[in-house]
Amino acid sequence: MLNRRELLRAMGLTAFASHVPALALASASTDARLVLVVLRGAVDGLALAAPYADPDYRNVRGELTLAKPGSANGLLDLDGFFGLHPSFDGVHERFVHGEATIVHAVASPYRARSHFDGQDMLENGGDTVGGLRDGWLNRALAPVAGDHEIAIALAQNTPLVLRGDNSVTSWAPSKLPDADADTIARLQRLYAGDAFFATRLEQALNSREIAQGMSGSSRGRGNDARQFEEMMASAARFLVAPDGPRIAVVELGGWDTHANQGSASGALANRFAALDTGLANLRTGLGVAWKNTAVAVVTEFGRTVHVNGTRGTDHGTATAALLVGGAVAGGKVIADWPGLGRNDLYAGRDLQPTTDLRSLFKGVLEQHLAIDAGFVERTVFPGSRGARPLENLIRS
């Protein structure tokens, strides 16, 4: 095991040691590790875990349909009804080992279509936008906190879910990721009407392509996916440090797939692959601590069931979430499946939510971090009585 100084050195941080907040945690009240991965931009849950056996699946998904398990580039079967996207080799292996659970048709209480507001509600844990100014995971810290910060945000700026009265720490590599491909593509559209900017951005992208020897397809892809993969390895180092934090939050954007989403390969498939690699890096880095770990992977809302006119999907409602880790009582899909028929959809276009995302969070806090159910009900997720905690999420 590394001590703090060795940890910092291992992360190439000794020169910046004075900028790194104290990691010391006198004695954590728990061996459990919790990682929350926030996927910003609204993940298409039907691509993450496809209900391939639903009679309407092929019909509603059109060109985004993923092939059945067993066929080339096919889904990775979960339970004979759902299959994981083929990019999720690692997660599927964990599922087979009983270390991964998929929660489907899940949504926060948010029912509109703004990313900003949707992320706010995902993170503040309330049922109104702006109703709570702090994050639910911060509110959950009081019963588990030791003398020092038990939670860390692997981000430049602590995300809302960890902001609040309880002290948390944060860390990000000094070299920030480049602007991601999606951001560049949006800028190209924004610049389209302005020749001065459009020409120059095009020239800059061409030069970068040459300088970095990038092929046309990976052009402008940016390095943020790789940074996420590395960030998950960093998270593991913090979580195994003897006096380090036990809870970590990591973020990844790039999920707002309005155009050219792709199916078994393409933009979204690449993103899933980065997520899968990041989770594998976390597991490797955690070593024996993996058995005490649960990783919740969530997003602010889902996407439309049908393909739009630009081979993508638009903002929707319910989606899928992952719970992975050695501590997870996995190997199952938790879904009160609403179906994909015309009358089954929310507002005629979205996957109908049947599980409250807070039920997942509440179950994890109570079973994994052993936080008192009454405290969770009153303080962490006030007004969530209707969202009963999911059961049997964590091995007992």
Partner: protein
């Protein structure tokens, strides 16, 4: 009233709107600008605690003396000079940008930066990094809204300018010391140095093509021989006087009347040069050259001739009263034309970003590092000509990409706490283009929305 007025006042004439600033401009944007011309009533807090030039020069001399006296291998002392200079560069630049980020008199401050660049001293030779910022505070700031001649005299006599352009080394051939040296023919470096004289004519007053000849440059060089500083040398000759203060040295001043631009200057001593600068300050070429620069800075890369003419006439009629010239600029209708758009320099972009976010970074390196990256390190334009002021010169493709990357960095740092659409409305008001607004509001996260906003053509122009 034109609804774009307050937005243009804050962004084109000011340093970029801070949240709430457009509302504070109110319905008389011209008045909001002109009311700023007196500047702050007292030294802004950011600058308190900076040393004045004389004190700084005393310390520099002290370090040099210690170096001379130290044993040869004392590395600590050897590095001390560079370290001292760097520290002062950092404290002066951080004060400059801290103030720019928060000032409620942004038009005044933009004028300070304009003149500082007009009279550029570049911090690439010692000890300029430690005094360039002091020149801005000591010579420019107090004279920004006074008469141009006072600004000109203060700058040309400031130790930073004199040392930067080597005037303390310029020796009149017929001065007392010059004659003696010439008789001995030993010390060859004794002679005229035309550096400062040339830049006064070419860059500070008449401008290239302003009607002067090489003969005029040489003559002006003679006229300002003796314009030196106290403690120009650490020991021996010219070590006398108050270190870091203007010192006229009769012993090296070229004596006798001089004829410059068709006029004879019979004065003696320092009066001769001052008389020349007084005439140069109100010369028609100066009026036109500087008016053009002002109009280019505030209105458009190719400024409308009507505005340049109006400023030039005002300059000549008022005898170079800068406040009157600024008033003419602010009252020119075309200066408020929404179709004129200036592409922000990196300096403008970084300051306006920090102001928009109401974010005073804890580490000044955040700003200075950004300006280094984007090619405009503070006080280091690399030549007395200063930084260029047109899109053509700042609009490189890679430079734009660096702005995008920096926008992304800034957004990651502060973006998740701020709604980028609200920010756009606060900063650009009625000029927040619907397309930009749509793009920002549809971003997949606040951080991405902030990146798009900062990199948008709307925000990249003023």
């Amino acid at each position: 009233m034109n609804p774009t007025g307050p937005v243009i006042a804050a962004n084109r004439f000011g340093l970029g709107a801070r949240p709430g600033e457009i509302a504070r401009v109110g319905d008389r944007p011209e008045a909001w600008l002109l009311d700023q011309l007196d500047g702050p009533s007292r030294l802004p807090p950011a600058f308190r605690g900076l040393p004045e030039s004389p004190a700084l020069f005393v310390e520099l001399q002290e370090i040099r003396r210690n170096q001379r006296e130290a044993k040869r291998n004392d590395e600590d002392i050897a590095q001390k000079y560079g370290r001292f200079v760097r520290e002062h560069y950092v404290s002066q630049t951080s004060a400059r940008y801290r103030h720019a980020a928060t000032t409620d008199l942004p038009f005044h401050e933009r004028l300070v930066h304009f003149w500082s660049n007009h009279f550029a001293v570049s911090a690439d030779k010692q000890p300029l990094p430690a005094i360039a910022g002091l020149m801005e505070n000591e010579a420019i700031r107090p004279n920004v809204s006074g008469r141009f001649v006072d600004l000109l005299l203060a700058v040309e006599k400031h130790p930073a300018m004199i040392v930067y352009l080597d005037n303390q080394r310029s020796i009149g051939p017929n001065s007392r010391l010059g004659e003696r040296a010439n008789r001995r023919r030993t010390e060859q470096q004794f002679g005229l140095n035309e550096n400062l004289a040339r830049e006064i004519l070419e860059l500070h007053t008449l401008g290239v093509g302003g009607g002067y000849t090489q003969q005029d440059v040489t003559t002006l060089a003679k006229i300002i021989t003796g314009w030196s500083i106290g403690g120009a040398n650490e020991r021996g000759r010219f070590a006398d006087g108050t270190p870091g203060k203007f010192e006229f040295r009769e012993a090296i001043h070229e004596p006798g009347p001089q004829r410059l631009l068709g006029k004879t200057y019979a004065q003696s001593g320092v009066d001769q040069g001052e008389a020349v600068l007084r005439d140069l300050a109100t010369h028609p070429s100066t009026a036109r050259f500087v008016s053009t620069k002002l109009a280019r800075h505030f209105v458009a890369d190719e400024p409308p001739a009507t505005i340049v003419d109006k400023l030039t006439d005002t300059w000549l009629e008022s005898g170079g009263e800068l406040a009157t010239v600024y008033r003419a600029l602010v009252e020119a209708d075309d200066a408020w034309n929404p179709t004129h758009r200036k592409y922000k320099t990196p300096h403008d972009f970084v300051i306006s970003t920090v102001r928009a976010l109401d974010h005073e970074p804890e580490r000044p390196q955040f700003i200075v590092g950004a300006l280094d990256l984007m090619g405009q390190p503070p006080f280091r334009p690399g030549s007395p000509e200063g930084w260029p002021d047109t899109a053509e010169q700042w609009g490189g493709a890679d430079a734009l990409y660096k702005r995008i990357e920096w926008s992304n960095t800034v957004a990651r740092r502060v973006g998740s706490r701020i709604d980028p659409v609200e920010l756009g409305k606060a900063v650009l008001g009625v000029r927040f283009d619907p397309e930009s607004r749509k793009a920002v509001s549809r971003a997949e996260s606040r951080v991405q929305g902030m990146t798009l906003f900062l990199a948008s053509p709307d925000f990249q122009r003023r």
